[in-house]
């Protein structure tokens, strides 16, 4: 068993990989509605509620030279402005020995592009799942 280097995991929008990403986090969450009553002897109880997932990402703004296989912050921004319909998004390894990834229908919810003085332009954003999250087996 070996620790997997996070550098190999990338965010994909169908066939385009997020270019110049530094960090990406897949978050999966389930609501746990409270059903505690006076009969539960002071212990909280809940039931399984709605599930949701999202991906947060950030990186350094860099032009990908018009590549059709690389996704840039400018393309994400244009996608949000155009209210582009949700599409398949993946969180999966590019290379290496990792054998698991995840995918699902999702929408780009936000992108922040920041130009701080005397440093490289950075970006960060969020993708929100629009349906079930599935496991991908990487061969």
């Amino acid at each position: 068993m070996a620790v997997i280097n996070g550098s190999v995991y990338s965010v994909w929008n169908t066939t385009e990989r997020l270019w110049s990403c530094k960090n990406a986090s897949l978050k999966v969450d389930v609501d746990l509605p409270d059903v505690t009553t006076k009969e539960d002897a002071g212990w909280a109880k809940h039931i399984q509620g709605l599930r949701n997932w999202s991906i947060d990402f950030d990186g350094v703004y860099e032009d990908a030279g018009g590549s059709s296989v690389l996704m840039t912050p400018a393309e994400i921004l244009a996608s949000i402005i155009a209210r582009t319909a949700s599409a398949e998004v993946s969180f999966k390894p590019v290379t290496g020995t990792a054998t698991t990834g995840w995918k699902g229908d999702a929408t780009f919810k936000s992108i922040t592009i920041t130009g701080n003085m005397e440093s490289g332009i950075t970006f960060s954003g969020t993708i929100v799942g629009n349906d079930a999250l599935e496991v991908i087996a990487i061969s």
Partner: protein, 169 residues
Amino acid sequence: MSTAHVDISYSLINAIYKALNGNVTYIGTTYPVYKSTPKPAPSTYVIIDQINSIENGTKDYFIYEGTVNIVICDDSAQRGDKKLAHSILNVVRGLLKPTRASVPSLVFGYTVDSELITIDSELITIDAEGGGGLTCVSFTPGMFNDFVEQSETGYSRIRLIDQYNFIIN
């Protein structure tokens, strides 16, 4: 942008040297610029000194961030008069960072003549290969320090240390 992990330190020293060498002129005198400590040293000179850097890139390529010290050395005075050193520093600053948004025109990539390097480090021949796939994104004035000490010969040793922050990718 570099997708290969490379040494940028000497390229940066070389690039700053090219920007300064022959151009540090104050009241008709052009002061020498060195990439390493000269032996013997002239009484007044500029040296591109210590570089500290870290790699802070993305998942796709490398980015190098750090600091480089430009030091004005003046051993010519018998008292700690820093006027000449500060005047030279002013010239250096004008060459390296003339405007808020400017970055020096840095040419990265070099070849080293292996025969000369064994004779005298000051005789290293550096030929710019051009490009090298690296760009100086920012070059920003950082911390400034100075110190003055009295040498054994009675002359003052003045060192003005001007630090610049850089980002190279």
